[in-house]
């Protein structure tokens, strides 16, 4: 009897040590064995890392990391956590690259990807044609450099759309005139603003309002990186956008205070407080608002539709998202990094689990169709349809300056300081002065 007890206790102790050893394969400071011969540094933003403020995300990532560690006993990953200041962190990565100590695996905002492409390793050998074709078009295009090399793994995306109160509006507007009319009707009978969107100083303003320009066929910057938004038809398209915004404010359906809305999430307070009938927002706000309002209440009141444009037959939205870049040239480390990213974020299973827990949109079309979380989700069909007309922001150096001038011009129009034509002219003069200085 004594022997049985000793053996049982020993087995339990060995099992506990085994479990402890396995669980300690993954901590926020290290993934894998300390003695592993291949060592990789991995930099991610807090919400994408093992030091995650959200427990459910951390658990999903830890599970994926543990699977990776067991399958790759000769690999050790050293996590680095970037701060939430996206532009600051992207610049820090640039500086690290100049200093020769950029992490082997780095999270890169799709907006900044064009700047990083020549600093990242090609990954064609790790992806099949089928996998690449499975990606949404803008992700596929964005991942490639001009020679057709895959330089990054675009693993999440986002899109902007019209949110509308379906309990107050039977049919969502499909063009600008309809939107103004619908907004007037709703605000006449309800104590709320008709239509809100970002028009403050921030990239959300540019990304929320540029779809109006793109839908008309407008081009901001040509293939050589030169601004063309004031040339030919592009000028008319841009003036149309500013005239529309001015109409929204002058008609009273949009308050002037939109010039103080710098992020899409700034509108959440108005949504929760029943202060708005329609707004332009990002897909991630579905989860945010549902969590704050209660999912039932949110689903009862709100729905989404494509952004209305000048004509009903036009469609366009702005898309963004996050990518992973691999910087190590060592073939073994590169392959290990690819296996790591596949397990955690980019492979079908990894992407499915990660985007589900994070409330992000996957970039693999097959995930939308094959997994019930997406195929049964009433929002996903609509979001997928909206994303088909997704436009990414042009990745040229002049774009950041163009974006700032667009935000300033929009505020001038809303405030009545400039007419739409004057605003476009002012925007053009400032952008071209910058462009000429750059070149």
């Amino acid at each position: 009897m004594r022997k049985i007890i000793i053996i049982t206790l020993s087995l339990m102790l060995m099992f506990s040590i085994g479990v402890y050893a396995q669980e300690n394969l993954v901590t926020s400071e290290q993934i894998g064995d300390s003695e592993a011969e291949i060592e990789l540094s991995w930099a991610a933003l807090p919400y994408y890392s093992l030091s995650n403020p959200y427990e459910d995300r951390e658990n999903v990532l830890k599970d994926s990391a543990l699977r990776f560690a067991k399958r790759n006993p000769n690999v050790r990953i050293n996590p680095q956590v970037l701060t939430g200041d996206i532009s600051g962190q992207m610049l820090k990565l640039l500086q690290q690259e100049s200093a020769g100590n950029i992490p082997d695996v780095a999270q890169i905002d799709s907006f900044y990807l064009p700047i990083f492409k020549d600093k990242l390793e090609p990954l064609n050998e790790f992806l099949t044609e089928e996998e690449i074709d499975d990606l949404v078009p803008f992700a596929k295009e964005g991942m490639l450099d001009k020679d057709g090399n895959v330089k990054a793994l675009w693993f999440t995306t986002d899109a902007r759309m019209l949110y509308y109160r379906k309990d107050l509006i039977d049919t969502p507007p499909s063009n600008w005139d309809e939107l103004i009319e619908v907004a007037k009707e709703v605000t006449a009978n309800n104590n709320m603003e008709g239509f809100l969107f970002s028009a403050g100083r921030g990239e959300a303003t540019t990304i929320s309002n540029l779809p109006y320009f793109w839908a008309q066929g407008g081009k901001l910057i040509n293939e050589n990186g030169k601004p063309v938004f004031n040339e030919g038809d592009n000028r008319d398209y841009m003036i149309n956008v500013f005239e529309y915004i001015k109409r929204l404010v002058d008609s009273g359906v949009t308050p002037r205070r939109v010039t103080n809305i710098t992020l899409e999430a700034d509108i959440n307070g108005d949504v929760i407080g029943n202060n708005v009938a329609m707004f332009i927002g990002g897909n991630w706000q579905i989860n945010q608002l549902a969590e704050n309002m209660g999912r039932e209440e949110f689903n009862k009141k709100w729905d989404i539709a494509p952004i209305p444009h000048i004509n009903s037959d036009l469609e366009a939205t702005a898309v963004g998202g996050w990518t992973w870049g691999i910087t190590t040239e060592d073939p073994e480390k590169k392959a290990a990094a690819m296996r790591f990213l596949d397990e955690m974020y980019f492979g079908k299973e990894g992407m499915k689990e990660w985007t589900k827990v994070g409330g992000y949109l996957p970039t693999r079309n097959s995930i939308y169709n094959e997994y019930t979380y997406y195929s049964d989700n009433p929002w996903m069909d609509k979001i997928q349809a909206i994303m088909e007309n997704g436009h990414v922001r042009p990745g040229y150096p002049i774009y950041t300056n163009l974006s700032t001038e667009f935000q300033v011009a929009l505020a001038d129009v809303i405030d009545g300081n400039k007419t739409p034509e004057e605003a476009v002219d002012s925007m053009w003069n400032n952008v071209m002065a910058e462009y000429e200085e750059m070149n």
């Binding site: 028009a199 100083r201 205070r257 950041t400 700032t404 809303i414």
Partner: protein, 288 residues
């Protein structure tokens, strides 16, 4: 022997100062003489960054906004800081209860991070239905005021928020100064028949001059460097109406990747702060 010991003790400090203070400043000056961008490894030396910045009309407009912001904030913080410090000091002389509580309440504004202050004042001044001040304005006057979305009013809203934030610091400095003034001066003035206002302008203010000088310098430098609160409150908008120089430096370097031009702005800010410090010294201290 003493000289050798002195160098032995001062050298590590000197090295730290050179490495962590002087070297970065020299680097900023160096970058300002280049066309360096954060996304390009190659750059050249020259004055093109200075030429671009100084010939850009937006720069002068931004400088004007910054000067209005800084000097309005500085004057109001000094003014209210002095009033509050004087009242607290007088309250303590008369053994009134609650002076400590008043000091603590005022100080609370100072310890709140700038970003949170921006958020708080955004809620307070917003024209949305949840905007606190506009709620009462609408109750009384049936209208709303565009505190943050009007290019004419936004700067004043930012100044008010900054004054609210900085008055506590000014109050503490001046309160410390008031405590240093000898009671005998006031007693002698009372004997001579001086009124309260006479004592304030002929004893308190002259005695506080060195403290006022330090206060002015510190408020000016801090306010020139303020951008966290403005970032959270208006983001520099609407348009460019609240984009002060420190926020412009951030946008230039981190938004437009122009390290050279951002450095030019930083150098200009450095010389502005230096000039103002020297001016205050000549105007306030040297007159003594």
């Amino acid at each position: 022997m003493k000289e050798r010991n002195f160098y032995k003790y001062i050298t590590p400090l000197l090295l730290m100062l050179i490495l962590f203070y002087l070297f970065p400043i020299v680097e900023v000056f160096r970058y300002s003489l280049t066309n360096i961008r954060l996304d390009k490894e190659i750059y050249s030396y020259g004055v093109s960054a200075y030429q671009y910045v100084l010939s850009n009309p937006n720069f002068w407009e931004m400088l004007k906004i910054t000067i209005i912001f800084v000097f309005s904030s500085m004057f109001l913080q000094l003014f209210f800081g002095l009033i509050i410090a004087t009242l607290i000091d007088e309250g303590e002389r008369r053994n009134l209860k609650g002076t400590l509580v008043v000091r603590l309440i005022v100080l609370m504004a100072w310890v709140i991070p700038g970003v949170i202050i921006g958020v708080i004042w955004n809620l307070f001044l917003s024209e949305a239905n949840y905007g606190i001040l506009n709620y009462f304005i609408q109750l009384v006057f049936n209208t709303k005021i565009s505190f943050l979305s009007s290019q004419d009013l936004a700067l004043y809203s930012v100044i008010i928020a900054n004054v609210w934030r900085g008055t506590a610091f000014s109050m503490i400095i001046l309160y410390g100064g008031l405590k240093q003034i000898s009671e005998e001066l006031y007693e002698a003035a009372s004997i001579d028949g001086a009124s309260t206002l006479d004592k304030f302008f002929k004893i308190t203010i002259p005695q506080l001059k060195p403290v006022i000088f330090i206060n002015m310098v510190l408020i000016t430098i801090y306010t020139f460097n303020t951008f966290d609160m403005i970032m959270a409150l208006t983001g520099g908008g609407p348009g460019r109406s609240t984009e002060v120089i420190s926020l412009n430096i951030y946008n230039t370097v981190f938004g437009h990747l122009e390290l050279g031009r951002g450095s030019v702005l930083a150098v200009i800010l450095f010389f502005i702060n230096l000039s103002i410090t020297l001016f205050y010294y000549n105007f306030v201290i040297s007159e003594e």
